[in-house]
Symmetry: C2
Subunit: 343 residues, 2 copies
């Protein structure tokens, strides 16, 4: 499986970094970009650049093992409709790097490409964009989420999993689209809305200049993401709207509960509120404590009828897959886990 | 006024750092701590350590110009009741470094010391504590809030203002207690509650280990302050409960409004939400742009009947006082301001 040929759609920050990282790891990488301006540099980096998206699907006898959609989400339906007539569904597996997974799968299925699709989302990036900003080291030690559903073929899953483990020397967790999108809403999309609400609160305050002058580290950290391109944040939130909506209502409920307890002077509720996150504080302390130590590993023999559930349970325990020594064995690293909250 | 004698109550992180910073700037500094363990090092640092709090009030002919209460807020009533019988109300001005100002003034007035009090709050600190962690450079380039009310004597105010400008080479803004406490709630106390609510949300999530694995920079920044001592955060929130309560209700309203707009697919409201903080984004961009440049300055001649209002308006414009070249002239630095939100 080494020497895999990978086709990259879109040589932006992520596509460019991934292509260069895969070349550095000995993979054959072809790429297409909607504009050819990065091709000169990309060719010097060892990437085979092709003239049309359709060329990326190859021709009989020379099909890529994997096509990775690294285009912006809004271009996805167009890319899929152009690939659908040309892709060899038997030879080539299709994946993507989008930050939401349920929406992309819907679009893939709508294009009639569901049978060859496995979702993926590498947890990396910077606030910059474009091939000029690409950097193969963005994929050093990265964690990916691979997303699968009941129709996912195990062999195709393994093509993506090996590209991550062998082509990128990266780790992965294997989950379903809904779990991915809810988790992404929790740790990123919803907090971006909260950060934006904080700067709106300051902007509306008649003493905003005094508040801004007194602001220190806590304010700076909590509002940093609100300073990045609000249009990009908005798109991210729109694409995961249902999960973000639910979490915003939860958060509003938590804030009102504290407000009520402060109003009533209810020490018990305030005490419980501040103690409730102790499992996460303990988890972070354990992560800091383990830093620099080699995590312990375990082998998980996979049952072809239950591999999805086995890998999801592994992810829920806080494990991450680092290698596939044979087709039905995953090697996982054991990491600290977040305990459930004491009630 | 140079060569001022300052008495410091409490040689913890802030009291110790301030004492050492003042000594380095040529002030005579006396200090008392509730336990004498830092005295040996403090004496080597040039601080005159006294055996009892009462000694800090001095004796006829040798009174400190200023006593700075750097003790924990919870010790404030005890410190004030012990100082009240011994302090020379004519010779000595009383100030403090507490992070809430209305509560401290109430306690000072209750102790019968209102006439000699001027509030202060230096915007500095670390997450460490104790004299061992003290560092005079904590007061390099620091900004202070000085808090005054209609009873504040201008001469006493100037003692504190000069200690800040000349003894510390620091900047200040001059505001009232309510403005200070509302601003502190906005930029620190309320966001601490929000950060705690975020880690509680993760802790309660059945897929918390998956979310924690996928968490990246935005989550780390927005939850950092929730990882510090929750008892300290709780005390900070309790001391400013009314302002925090109001802001939590505002924030909850903003989050519910976005949730409703996502539910309804209301693009106009979502667009307005993400654009609303643009004045703060512009302000941060202006601050970054001006970094390294010397801010322009202006002289404000003060009217003894309206100095409080003049200085409060200056702070509201985003100016900071850097010097007092004569008794009724403040030199302010002009800094970027946050525009009001476009509606």
């Amino acid at each position: 499986m080494t020497g895999m040929t990978v086709g990259i759609v879109g040589l932006g920050l992520i596509g460019g970094s991934l292509a260069r990282h895969l070349v550095a790891n000995g993979y054959r990488v072809m790429a297409w970009n909607h504009r050819p301006h990065p091709y000169e540099q990309a060719r010097r980096d060892g990437i085979v650049c092709v003239d049309t998206l359709e060329d990326l699907a190859g021709h009989p006898g020379a099909r890529p093992d994997l096509i990775v959609l690294c285009n912006p989400l809004k271009a996805m339906p167009d890319m899929l409709s152009r690939l659908a007539p040309v892709i060899d569904r038997t030879a080539t597996t299709l994946t993507d790097v989008g930050s939401v997974k349920a929406l992309v799968r819907q679009q893939v299925v709508a294009a009639g490409l569901g049978e060859c699709y496995v979702g993926a989302h590498p947890m990396t990036g910077t606030e910059r964009s474009g091939f000029e900003a690409s950097d193969p080291s963005l994929f050093d030690y990265a964690l990916w989420a691979i997303t699968v559903d009941e129709s996912t073929d195990y062999r195709r899953f393994l093509v993506v999993a090996r590209m991550i483990a062998e082509g990128c020397a990266n780790r992965c967790i294997v989950i379903d689209d809904g779990t991915h999108d809810r988790a992404a809403a929790l740790i990123s999309h919803m907090p971006h809305v909260v950060a934006t609400a904080l700067i709106n609160e300051l902007t509306d305050n008649p003493d905003r200049n005094i508040a801004a002058a007194l602001a220190a580290g806590s304010w700076r950290d909590m509002t940093r993401v609100a300073l990045t391109d609000p249009q990009r944040t908005r798109a991210m939130v729109d694409e995961d709207a249902q999960n973000v909506e639910a979490l915003l209502r939860h958060m509003a409920g938590r804030l009102v509960a504290v407000a009520d307890a402060l109003h009533d002077g209810d020490d018990r509720i305030i005490g419980e509120f501040f103690a409730h996150g102790n499992p996460f504080r303990d988890y972070k302390a354990a992560c800091a404590h383990n830093q620099g130590e080699t995590p312990s590993t375990a082998q998980i023999p996979l049952d072809i009828a239950h591999w999805r559930e086995q890998l999801l349970e592994s992810a829920r325990r806080g494990e991450q897959v680092v290698a596939w020594p044979s087709d039905l064995v995953a090697v996982v690293e054991r990491r600290p886990a977040v305990a459930s909250a004491a009630r």
